[in-house]
């Protein structure tokens, strides 16, 4: 564990902004896709 | 001989026909009947090999038309809804090209005779765009007088024709059948030919 403190971890050696947006956006896209599919699934089942 | 076996046909999600059977023998004419949207044109397109069916088979002399496409095409004249006429070519050029594309030797004298028969001889050098609907139909039908093939598939051939042209086409159909040709067509009225040669087939579930 070479980060020492949470602040250091979040700062990512000064590249925090780029790193966290990359990972955050990836997760957000995948979760959003799952959420959208869930909704589409419910729609495709309903009112037959 | 043409056979249609256990045909199922869909347009989009809707079922047009299922387990449809039919056979057509030399010297026989089938008149397809049915209301709008029952799949008359779809059936003709499948039989001519332009569309594919969901299931079932179309056999020409007991061979699936999908496996012997070119052989089948050379036995067939299909005339669809649209007259297949290029506006920018003259009447004579249109007829010449359509024959040449089907590998028919073009004899200019016979061509002019055929145009005479369908009443377009005087317009032979005019661009096709000046023709009326009825004249266009006559021009596309002119092939029937020039190209000897056993099977005719005609989609509404009587459309836009006047009384005289109607009679002309019926006479040609009679001749074709007597010389043991086959024909399948759609039409709003029953063609006035020898009843022994005519079979009515109704579509619609």
């Amino acid at each position: 564990m070479h980060w020492g403190s949470l602040d250091n971890f979040l700062a990512m050696g000064g590249y925090g902004f780029y790193v966290w947006i990359s990972f955050g956006l990836t997760l957000a896209c995948l979760l959003f896709e799952l959420y959208g599919l869930q909704k589409r699934h419910v729609n495709s089942q309903g009112d037959i | 001989m043409l056979k249609v076996r256990a045909l199922e046909c869909r347009r989009g999600a809707s079922l047009l026909m299922s387990d449809f059977n039919m056979s057509l023998e030399a010297g026989q004419l089938i008149h397809l009947q049915g209301a709008n949207g029952t799949g008359k044109t779809s059936l003709l397109r499948i039989i001519s090999g332009l569309s594919t069916q969901e299931t079932g088979k179309v056999l020409w002399n007991d061979v699936d038309i999908r496996t012997a496409r070119e052989d089948y095409s050379s036995n067939l004249i299909y005339i669809g809804h649209q007259p297949a006429i290029k506006d920018d070519l003259t009447v004579l050029e249109n007829l010449t090209v359509s024959l040449k594309l089907n590998g028919v030797k073009v004899d200019i004298k016979r061509l002019e005779e055929a145009l005479e028969v369908v009443g377009l001889a005087r317009r032979k050098n005019l661009p096709a765009r000046v023709l009326s609907q009825g004249q266009r139909r006559r021009l596309s039908l002119a092939r029937l007088w020039l190209d000897q093939r056993p099977l005719w598939i005609l989609d509404e051939p009587f459309n836009a024709l006047d009384v005289q042209a109607n009679k002309l086409l019926e006479e040609r159909l009679d001749q074709h059948l007597v010389s043991s040709g086959m024909c399948i067509l759609t039409s709003h009225h029953t063609p006035n030919i020898d009843k022994k040669l005519l079979t009515e087939v109704s579509l619609g579930l």
Binding site: Y15, S22, F23, C29, H41, S44, I48 | S14
Partner: protein, 243 residues
């Protein structure tokens, strides 16, 4: 066991539904493991600092974007040669996920590029190829949605997927050639860090996680597609009966 039976959409529907959660579960577990490696086990790169950690999403996303397109083309071949509806649906179900990975590869690439190259976008060979791949995905999906007749849409997009997949290597090669001709960016995201074993490990685990995610999501989307098409047929039949 009769596998052929599963090639019918109706029988495959419940199978897809019961398999999907497992794939998604494995994807989630591997994702956590991968992220742990990415942030806590992988050392800092002496040249790029911590920014190189973007590689752990960028490279797997870029790999996935290419793989998914090839697999779509594969399903298209199966569909065209066997005329099986399920294969077409499979290709259709994969497309949006592939497009998302392409988009992510582009965005993370440019997020890495800003601190490293000093610009959000550099015409680097990999990024340019990804951009063209995104165009192909968009074209595929646009073609499918523009065609109303599902049968035609399935088969037309299959032809496009096949033709464009053959083009993907040519595009990649031509872009690389172009890059050397015009002396493009010299540092690229993947060549910079001296690949430690643990980094490769992390990237591999993230990739497998994305793989599992893709399969799970594609199965779910497949279910939606099957259900939607089924419903349309039921509607049409009702309309016909009431006439």
């Amino acid at each position: 066991m009769n596998w052929y039976k599963f090639s019918s959409p109706k029988t495959f529907y419940p199978v897809a539904g019961s398999l999907a959660p497992y794939f998604l579960g494995v994807a989630g577990a591997l994702l956590i493991l991968g992220l742990y490696i990415a942030f806590f086990l992988a050392p800092t790169d002496f040249q790029q600092g911590e920014a190189y950690r973007i590689i752990f999403v960028h490279v797997p996303a870029a790999w996935m974007s290419m793989f998914v397109y090839l697999i779509m083309a594969g399903w298209s071949v199966v569909g065209l040669s066997l005329n099986s509806k399920l294969s077409y649906m499979m290709a259709q179900a994969l497309a949006p996920t592939g497009a998302i990975f392409t988009f992510l590869a582009l965005v993370t690439g440019s997020l890495w590029g800003k601190p490293m190259w000093g610009a959000w976008w550099v015409w680097d060979a990999r990024l340019t190829s990804e951009l063209i791949l995104l165009f192909l995905y968009v074209g595929y999906m646009a073609l499918h949605s523009a065609l109303d007749d599902v049968r035609r849409a399935d088969r037309a997009t299959a032809v496009f997927a096949l033709v464009s997949a053959v083009n993907v290597p040519i595009i990649y090669f031509s872009v690389k050639w172009w890059n050397t001709l015009h002396q493009g960016a010299s540092v690229s995201l993947t060549q910079a860090p001296a690949m430690a074993k643990i980094m490769l490990m992390g990237m591999l685990i993230m990739s497998i996680s994305f793989w599992m995610y893709t399969i799970g999501v594609a199965l779910l989307r497949l279910q939606c597609i099957i259900a939607e098409r089924e419903r349309e047929i039921i509607w049409m039949n009702e309309a016909q009966r009431s006439e």
